[in-house]
């Protein structure tokens, strides 16, 4: 264990921070990769079906933004593939044969997505309308299936199954058991629904601002209604799924659940804490509801809930306050988003109209950001809650990190690069929308030379 002790001495903090940063950014782009094609295809479908110029214009403009986000998502996905090896050679060298299986499947879906993105995004003018619409279907289908595969890899880290370990080496692998591990069935729908919510609320928010400013035309109403409907349908399902997951976590990863709910000691009739900070056995500034945690876990006020004292201190997740508050914030935001969707749903069901109250539109404007925050909080709960394990119950994060020097440098570069990427991928759509609003169609049509002096176009055919 001497080498293990040496590795422990060089704490994996920069590596973990780098992985967390890259994943934290990529997960938002991934949401757009999963859900945006559906939003665009619905708009295009309305446009073709009804001959609606507003819907078609929306679809085309969204597809421009989609081209940008898919490109950034593709490179940022590459970053993660590299980091699996560059940062965690101890994980991949030992368990690559098992965890690699879902990634290999993901490769096929990634191919399908990238190929048909090329056809869909650049085939607007030469393909017939319906042929073009169908060329987008493979993107919409491969998004969630790709998510299934990647999330299956993460689920496997939480619930590792399907391999035989002999003398520290994986000697046999059952690919199906790896792919369909115990956590895949709930982690995947949670992530895919989150993707629809993040994308839908973010896109709808843009048009909510437009409506708020009084641009109450068909273009803005559709631009709001299409993504909001998709996110709104996902919201109640997400509440149900999330509720189920919490109870499954309680059984499968009781220590993670204990950190999520502040359960230091295994006990019956456990208090549910809402908010609050945990310091040395006390919860400060939290609202404690007696017996509620036991009721939520087993529908019984006397039910036993396992606390983190069930494992030695070295095997407990760090920062229970971070995990608990992230969990609470995610639940709170999810519930709020559901309320927003229900409000609009009610109005549509009975009055067939979009709510135009400033309160509602203001909430919608920030709903996308809130959904993205909830996504990040959920990610923190999953990942920090799994610590100190990288493969739950089998391998510690400490013993997986690279021995190469220079992670501090790459971490700094990653922060800078992702900072630039995020700023630009927010700023560019904003600039694009400003141009669309202020310039006539002729200015846009003139702008087709990708690089070079703006004016002369003599070289083009």
């Amino acid at each position: 264990m001497l080498s293990g002790a040496m590795v422990l001495a060089s704490a994996p903090v920069p590596a973990r921070a780098q992985m967390a940063t890259s994943l934290g950014f990529h997960i938002v782009y991934a949401c757009f990769g999963i859900a945006f094609p559906v939003v665009v295809l619905v708009a295009e479908w309305i446009g073709i079906r009804r001959g609606d110029p507003a819907a078609l214009l929306l679809a085309r403009r969204w597809s421009k933004v989609m081209a940008l986000l898919i490109a950034v998502g593709a490179v940022s996905g590459t970053v993660l593939s590299y980091e699996m090896g560059v940062l965690w050679p101890g994980l991949m060298g030992r368990f690559g044969a098992a965890i690699g299986v879902p990634f290999a499947v993901e490769g096929v879906f990634f191919f399908v997505e990238a190929i048909f993105a090329g056809v869909y995004l650049y085939g607007w003018d030469r393909l017939s309308p319906w042929a073009h619409w169908w060329s987008g279907m493979p993107i919409a289908v491969s998004g969630p299936l790709g998510a299934l595969s990647v999330v299956a890899a993460n689920s496997w880290m939480n619930q590792p199954t399907g391999f035989v370990l002999k003398a520290g080496r994986v000697t046999s692998v059952d690919p199906f058991a790896v792919y369909f591990n115990n956590a895949t069935p709930y982690e995947t729908p949670h992530m895919v629904l989150a993707a629809y919510m993040v994308t839908g609320f973010l896109v709808a928010g843009v048009y909510a601002v437009g409506l708020w400013r009084g641009r109450n035309d068909r273009y803005h109403r559709l631009g709001f209604a299409v993504p909001f409907t998709i996110a709104g349908i996902a919201s109640p399902i997400q509440l149900v799924v999330g509720d189920l997951i919490a109870r499954v976590i309680e059984r499968q990863q009781p220590v993670k659940f204990a950190a999520m709910e502040y359960v230091p000691r295994t006990a019956r009739g456990v208090t549910e804490w809402i908010g609050g900070i945990y310091v040395d056995g006390h919860v400060y500034a939290g609202l404690g509801i007696p017996y509620l945690d036991s009721i939520l876990v087993a529908f019984d006020p006397g039910a036993k809930v396992i606390g983190w004292d069930s494992v030695p201190p070295a095997l407990r997740p760090p920062l229970p306050s971070l995990i608990h508050l992230s969990f609470d914030a995610m639940v709170a935001i999810g519930t709020g988003l559901f309320a927003l969707a229900a409000w609009q749903g009610w109005e549509w069901w009975f009055h067939r109209r979009i709510v135009r109250t400033p309160w509602f539109l203001a909430a919608c404007a920030v709903a996308g950001g809130a959904a993205a925050l909830a996504l990040e909080f959920g990610w923190i709960v999953t990942e920090v809650g799994r610590q100190p394990w990288i493969v739950y119950g089998y391998q510690l994060t400490n013993s997986s990190v690279t021995v190469a020097s220079g992670v501090e440098v790459t971490f700094a570069v990653v922060i800078v690069v992702y900072g630039i990427l995020s700023i630009v991928s927010v700023a560019v759509p904003v600039i694009m929308s400003h141009r669309w609003r202020t310039e006539g169609p002729s200015a846009e049509e003139a702008e087709q030379v990708p690089y070079g002096p703006p004016a002369p176009r003599s070289a083009s055919p």
């Binding site: 080498s3 040496m6 009804r50 001959g51 609606d52 110029p53 940008l68 490179v75 590459t78 970053v79 593939s81 560059v86 050679p89 991949m92 060298g93 030992r94 368990f95 690559g96 044969a97 690699g100 299986v101 290999a104 499947v105 096929v108 191919f111 990238a114 048909f116 090329g118 056809v119 650049y122 085939g123 607007w124 393909l127 309308p129 520290g168 046999s172 692998v173 690919p175 068909r218 399902i237 149900v240 799924v241 189920l244 109870r247 529908f299 019984d300 690279t402 190469a404 020097s405 630009v424 560019v428 169609p441 846009e444 049509e445 702008e447 030379v449 690089y451 070079g452 002096p453 055919p461």
Partner: protein
């Protein structure tokens, strides 16, 4: 000599090298486009070639890029120990190549929306610089592997670099003459294959001046690539005796094929023929990849980790092969469609205003009229939504009841 590899690990190794060859050819051509973009001169003079590069690269580069991810996935699933050792020993060039990949992809994507000349130049420079450094660094990685700079150090797969040496060793691994030469070879090979593809694309579009522009550059890049290939080959004789001995012995066929195909491509270029040009040049490049694999057989990491010793358990390898089969089934037709459409000029960046015309055609009415009224109710959609909600609620209640019963029994 280590025992010969099992059929499945040999099969995965072949799939891996096919994927590497595909990446080298397809993404290599896109990188080459970036290199020519970099060398196209000032904004005014370079506008023509840059537009041609953009037209050829835009719809396909992402799909081509996925080959790299597929290569990584194949490597870590099929040969995890080799993956871990490579990623540890070559941390620096790999991390730096990642920066190149980001610059290339993001620069390219953002450039399409840039308006002012200055922004275009900045984003274009990121694209071009990324296209230059990525193949160079990936080349040094392969040079380091071939020359045995990545050594397998144990089951943990961390390589033998843990002890003394540290940073100095990490830098030395990929800065040997052979590795640097391989990097240069990769850049010139990308420029070469890129110029070939651009020549044919421009000819197909009927832009003869642009085609000739790239034809001359393809000749130059081909000669430079040949010179680099010859020098690298010579350097291998002392920096990697094992691979050199195989390349001049058992593994001679790919070397011969590469030379012959390269010469054939050169003759076609000089004769201004485009028929068969891409095949000849592609064969020359793919044969180099094949020669590399064949040359270091049966080693994953010459000469410390053999294919047999570094392979994942058989079931993982079979799963990878099954996935590759799925890929042939689903991905190959997709690629065929993508390239067919691209070659027939069906894929291009288009202004969004086209939708207005399209809508007018579809509706068969002038644009200023309101669209057809929407239907007021959607019974099918509502049924599905309510059914989904109801099913979720029922499932939730049942799960609650079950856990409640179980807790009660305890």
């Amino acid at each position: 000599m280590s025992p010969s590899p099992s059929p499945e690990s040999l099969a995965v190794a072949i799939v891996l090298f096919v994927a590497i060859a595909a990446y080298a050819l397809l993404a290599g051509a896109d990188f080459g486009g970036g290199v020519w973009d970099l060398l196209a001169g000032g904004a005014e003079r370079g506008a023509g070639p840059r537009r041609a590069i953009d037209e050829s690269v835009t719809p396909v580069w992402e799909a081509n890029h996925v080959w790299l991810i597929f290569v990584l996935v194949l490597l870590w699933t099929g040969f995890p120990a080799a993956f871990a050792a490579i990623m540890t020993a070559l941390f620096i060039p790999l991390s730096a190549s990642l920066l190149g990949i980001i610059m290339r992809g993001a620069g390219f994507a953002f450039r399409h929306q840039a308006r002012g000349l200055r922004t275009k130049q900045i984003t274009g420079a990121a694209f071009a610089a990324g296209s230059l450094i990525t193949p160079f660094l990936l080349g040094t990685v392969i040079g380091a592997i071939v020359t045995g700079q990545v050594r397998y150090g144990g089951p943990a797969g961390a390589g033998s670099l843990t002890g003394a040496g540290g940073l100095a060793r990490e830098i030395a691994a990929w800065t040997t003459p052979a590795a640097l030469l391989t990097g240069a070879l990769f850049v010139s090979a990308c420029a070469y294959i890129g110029a070939i593809f651009l020549t044919v694309d421009a000819r197909n579009r009927g832009e003869l001046a642009v085609a000739n522009y790239f034809r001359l550059r393809a000749v130059a890049a081909g000669l430079v690539t040949g010179a680099f290939a010859g020098t690298t080959f010579g350097v291998l004789s002392f920096s990697s005796p094992y691979v050199f001995a195989r390349l001049t012995g058992t593994a001679l066929p790919p070397v011969a094929i590469s030379v012959a195909a390269g010469l054939a491509a050169l003759i076609l270029l000089l004769a201004r023929r485009t028929r068969g040009l891409r095949v000849a040049a592609g064969t020359a490049v793919a044969a180099v990849v094949a020669g590399w694999g064949w040359g270091q057989f049966p080693y994953l990491l010459p000469t410390t980790l053999s294919l047999q010793a570094g392979s994942a358990p058989a079931n993982s390898l079979l799963a990878v092969l099954a996935v590759a089969g799925l890929g042939v089934l689903f991905v190959a037709p997709g690629f065929a469609l993508l390239y067919w459409l691209q070659q027939h000029g069906a894929l291009a960046e288009s202004p969004t205003t086209g939708s207005l015309r399209q809508a007018a055609e579809l509706a068969g009415q002038p644009l200023d009229q309101a669209p057809a009224p929407a239907r007021d109710s959607h019974p099918v959609v509502m049924t599905i939504v309510l059914a989904a909600l109801g099913a979720g609620a029922v499932r939730d209640i049942l799960a609650r009841a079950r856990t409640g019963r179980r807790a009660g029994k305890e």
